[in-house]
Symmetry: D2
Subunit: 119 residues, 4 copies
Amino acid sequence: MNSKQEQIKKFCRERNWDQFHNPKDILLGIVEEVGEFRNLAKWEQDPQVIRKVFLEKKAEVEDGIGDMFWFLSLLANSYDIDIDQAAQVVIDENERRFPLDQTKDRHTNINLGGYDGHH
Amino acid sequence: MNSKQEQIKKFCRERNWDQFHNPKDILLGIVEEVGEFRNLAKWEQDPQVIRKVFLEKKAEVEDGIGDMFWFLSLLANSYDIDIDQAAQVVIDENERRFPLDQTKDRHTNINLGGYDGHH
Amino acid sequence: MNSKQEQIKKFCRERNWDQFHNPKDILLGIVEEVGEFRNLAKWEQDPQVIRKVFLEKKAEVEDGIGDMFWFLSLLANSYDIDIDQAAQVVIDENERRFPLDQTKDRHTNINLGGYDGHH
Amino acid sequence: MNSKQEQIKKFCRERNWDQFHNPKDILLGIVEEVGEFRNLAKWEQDPQVIRKVFLEKKAEVEDGIGDMFWFLSLLANSYDIDIDQAAQVVIDENERRFPLDQTKDRHTNINLGGYDGHH
């Protein structure tokens, strides 16, 4: 298991916090983090300007990413799921689903002419 | 860097997908995963029943966790953020914010009598 | 058209704000509102206690609901959709999908024995 | 009260569904709708192309807006909140917060030079 996921597991076990880790609360915690990120980008349409502000607020962005990993670990730990293994399953699936020769320089939004091997 | 984050970076670089990775799209991707989880738990009020259905659908839960880690890696890779380091910052902060003697067997919702050292 | 949706349309037209109303930004605005609600309920497992705190914070809940309606109006106004008509379509569909004799006192989570005429 | 909100109240009362309307479930329902919208826009960076696809899928967009209004009504009805009144409170606040002479042709993202009277 990823050592950060393991540390988060230990932190929660020491506090006996599993009793509070209803998946609904964890999922809404992830949603709250997404909402906080929104304030950096909102209403700006130029991707380069958005990029600039995210780089200027890098500590804040890092903190939000850390918080999301925290919530993801709570969710995974609730069901004895190893995040690294879960990521590997997705990586393998995406290798099949988005072959390099079909998806180089091409997005995957099938509503807009993209390629997705699932469809 | 976590080796899964690294693999995802390589996958996207090969496809030249950075051009599509506007943070708004990545964040909405995470939201979509949360929405998919919702169907497992919705309207059920008994945490034990929710737990049971998540364990019965463990492969689906693992897949959703892997997808969220994927999106989190896209976000982190956009700004050269190491997820493991970001997680460590949060772990260290939470050690200070939620001291063991104040938070054992106690939640952190300050609206409902919980403890949060930030407030 | 609902008069509140109409007022919001006028407010935005006067400011020439349509240029900013990319649906991604509007959707993330809704997500941010959900995230703010989360703090009232998080980690609490007893629905009666959650109910009590929402009633105690009724002005805050009302404000969040108003904000969500605002964002929903921005989205609807972008594509000349009438929210009242859209709601009627869903009400009619739900009358067919959840007949009274199948769904009285019964939830609609098909993972947990509920009824949903779509499945 | 808005007549659609009233109809949704009646629909739920007939089915005795209030027992299921924990705000966490309602909020995650809204999140699910946002996630569904995401598939129309994802990875596309040109606002005009996004607009085109939303107009082409107008029935789907209308359905999603109706579903969000449904969930918003469930939330409001749980605490006897009138959505129209809640919207009016926000409209009045936004008149004060975003005066026309400061916000015409100008967004409200204070991270990017916008104006927001709250800050």
